[in-house]
């Protein structure tokens, strides 16, 4: 047996167990969704039949889908830049030798290890009208009562804030790791040249953090289309679909209305969006990132 042949056999044998599970629970369901999306939902007396693009035509005409898509884009726009900027700020702060930085680092990171479902309950209380914490504070300052989660104008922002709070500390760890790997000689050289701290951050630290930012950005984008735990606890998509996000809508259509064919078509739309985002990020952004 030649070495190359042997290597190919061993390589594939090592890969096989993981590949079986990857195909079974990622690639096969993605392909199956495509198949389901052109079929009708099977009913006890009416088996699934081919319906062509009917499910997609339904999506096109579905106001709740468009609302969920719009909500999701606002949610992404609200969470991604804010949590990345906050994470960077946190990392710079806890990287400097400030008094109490161990406490700060712990405080920032704690939301990451708490189950979203558990903290959503606590945030639910914060947002409760009349006796909730936010209301007590704002009431003391003389503001009127607001039903944060019950009003169409504020509900989406309320759940966005919770997502930012949950995510920023997780991203901070990556920035902290990157900051600590920057050679201290760079700081010395910059200070000898008389660069201000802001210049040092802008010209040295920030560019060196770009690969981390790309990694964090990819994660933030994925999370923006995946984070639904707190929606299920806090608003169930309401009021009047004001906080319905795409994955939440898929969950609702698939498991509350049991319209599996329509849910499959929605899944295909979400997958197509994720693929497009991946394409933009890997193809276009990566060429703009400076690697060491």
């Amino acid at each position: 047996m030649s070495d190359r042949f042997r290597s190919a056999i061993v390589g594939w044998l090592l890969l096989l167990p993981a590949m079986i599970f990857l195909v079974a629970f990622t690639h096969w369901p993605a392909v199956a969704s495509l198949w389901e999306s052109v079929m009708s939902t099977p009913k006890p007396r009416r088996p699934a039949r081919f319906v062509g693009a009917a499910n997609f035509e339904q999506i096109w005409a579905d106001p709740i889908f468009w609302q969920s898509l719009t909500n999701n884009l606002w949610f992404a726009l609200g969470t991604i830049p804010t949590s990345i900027a906050l994470a960077m700020l946190m990392a710079v702060w806890v990287n400097d030798r400030l008094p109490g930085r161990t406490f700060a680092r712990m405080a920032y990171f704690t939301p990451t290890i708490l189950p979203m479902i558990a903290v959503a309950n606590i945030w639910l209380f914060f947002f409760t009208p009349q006796y909730g914490l936010l209301e007590q504070i704002l009431g003391a300052l003389g503001f009127g009562a607001t039903n944060w989660l019950g009003s169409k104008d504020t509900a989406l922002w309320a759940v966005t804030v919770v997502a930012i709070w949950k995510e920023a500390g997780f991203f901070m760890i990556f920035y902290l790791a990157a900051l600590q790997s920057i050679s201290p000689t760079l700081a010395e050289a910059a200070s000898l040249e008389g660069a201000s701290r802001w210049t040092y951050f802008r010209r040295v630290q920030f560019p060196l953090l770009m690969p981390t930012t790309l990694f964090v950005l990819i994660n933030a984008v994925i999370n923006a289309f995946r984070m639904v735990d707190h929606i299920i606890v806090m608003t169930r998509g309401g009021p009047d679909n004001a906080t319905s996000l795409l994955l939440f809508y898929i969950y609702q259509v698939g498991f509350s209305f049991w319209d599996t064919a329509y849910a499959a078509a929605l899944t295909i739309v979400l997958l197509a969006m994720l693929a497009l985002i991946a394409f933009i990020q890997y193809g276009w952004l990566e060429r703009r990132v400076h690697y060491r």
Partner: protein
């Protein structure tokens, strides 16, 4: 954390006061929900929303939460679940990462692209089809039903592949000269050298699956299979009216083990995370 003895950009004077103030304010905001949970859980319900320092301390909320729902069962389920997932992930990801890092075989590029695709398309997005698969396998409402979609983790494969590639080829060759086969080389050379990465990955995996909610919610419908997160949700959306003190106690119960573990190993955790080069 290794700090340089001299940092020319360490904030001084007013900037230092400003930065410290900002860092603390943000830290307080970030810890506030947890702090509130502690307050409400350790005080009688009538003080849940009234913050007076003289409020009496009590453990009663915890005992009430514990008897109000089968938390012991939920704990057992969660511990079994995260163990099952972590052990399978370690085995499958190690083997696959070794193949990608050190073997030439036709189709390697395509196989790796298939792995990377999962980084973008998490199993969470494919709940409808995965539910169908699980019903076909009669695994609905079982722990393996919760675990299976996650056992081949693209993140784990990617992370370990990067690590294995940094292992010097000479070590590999030396072991082979001594007559070790591929699996023995993996166990004797690669796995021990990647220990910090296994620790970092373990912490990420355990906390992710301890906290995971949507898929377990969908795939379970009985106490026998429910993990803590789903149990907590069923418990707190019950009809008994909203009792914030008991909910906060249950919340602390649910996240307590992770929280204590994190506080105890905070330093090691952050360090192994950094050494893993996940950045």
């Amino acid at each position: 954390m290794s700090q340089t003895p001299h940092d020319p950009y360490a904030p001084k004077g007013f900037a230092r006061v400003l930065e410290t103030g900002g860092a603390w304010l943000l830290a307080l905001l970030w810890i506030l929900p947890l702090a509130f949970a502690f307050w409400a859980a350790f005080h009688p319900p009538e003080f849940a929303t009234r913050f007076t320092l003289t409020a009496p301390l009590t453990f009663e909320n915890f005992t009430r939460a514990w008897v109000a729902a089968p938390f012991a069962r939920y704990f057992l389920n969660t511990i079994l679940l995260v163990t099952m997932i972590f052990v399978s992930q370690i085995i499958l990801c190690t083997l696959a990462a070794y193949a990608f890092a050190r073997f030439e075989f036709p189709g390697r590029g395509i196989a790796f692209a298939l792995v990377l695709a999962q980084l973008m398309i998490m199993p969470d997005v494919l709940i409808v089809e995965n539910y169908r698969t699980m019903s076909a396998l009669s695994l609905v409402d079982t722990l393996p039903g919760i675990a299976l979609p996650y056992v081949a983790s693209a993140f784990g494969i990617f992370l370990l592949r990067q690590t294995f590639r940094t292992v010097p080829k000479e070590l590999d060759d030396a072991a082979r000269v001594e007559g070790a086969n591929a699996l023995q080389v993996l166990m004797k050379v690669y796995v021990p050298l990647a220990r910090p990465i296994y620790i970092a990955y373990g912490l990420v995996s355990v906390s992710y699956h301890w906290n995971n909610f949507l898929w377990p919610l969908i795939i379970t419908n009985s106490v026998e299979a429910r993990p803590l997160t789903v149990g907590l949700q069923v418990f707190s959306s019950g009809d008994q009216g909203v009792d914030w003190s008991v909910i906060c106690a249950a919340t602390l119960l649910t996240s307590g083990p992770l929280l204590i573990g994190f506080l105890m190993f905070q330093r090691q955790f952050v360090q192994s995370f950094m050494r893993a080069g996940i950045r």
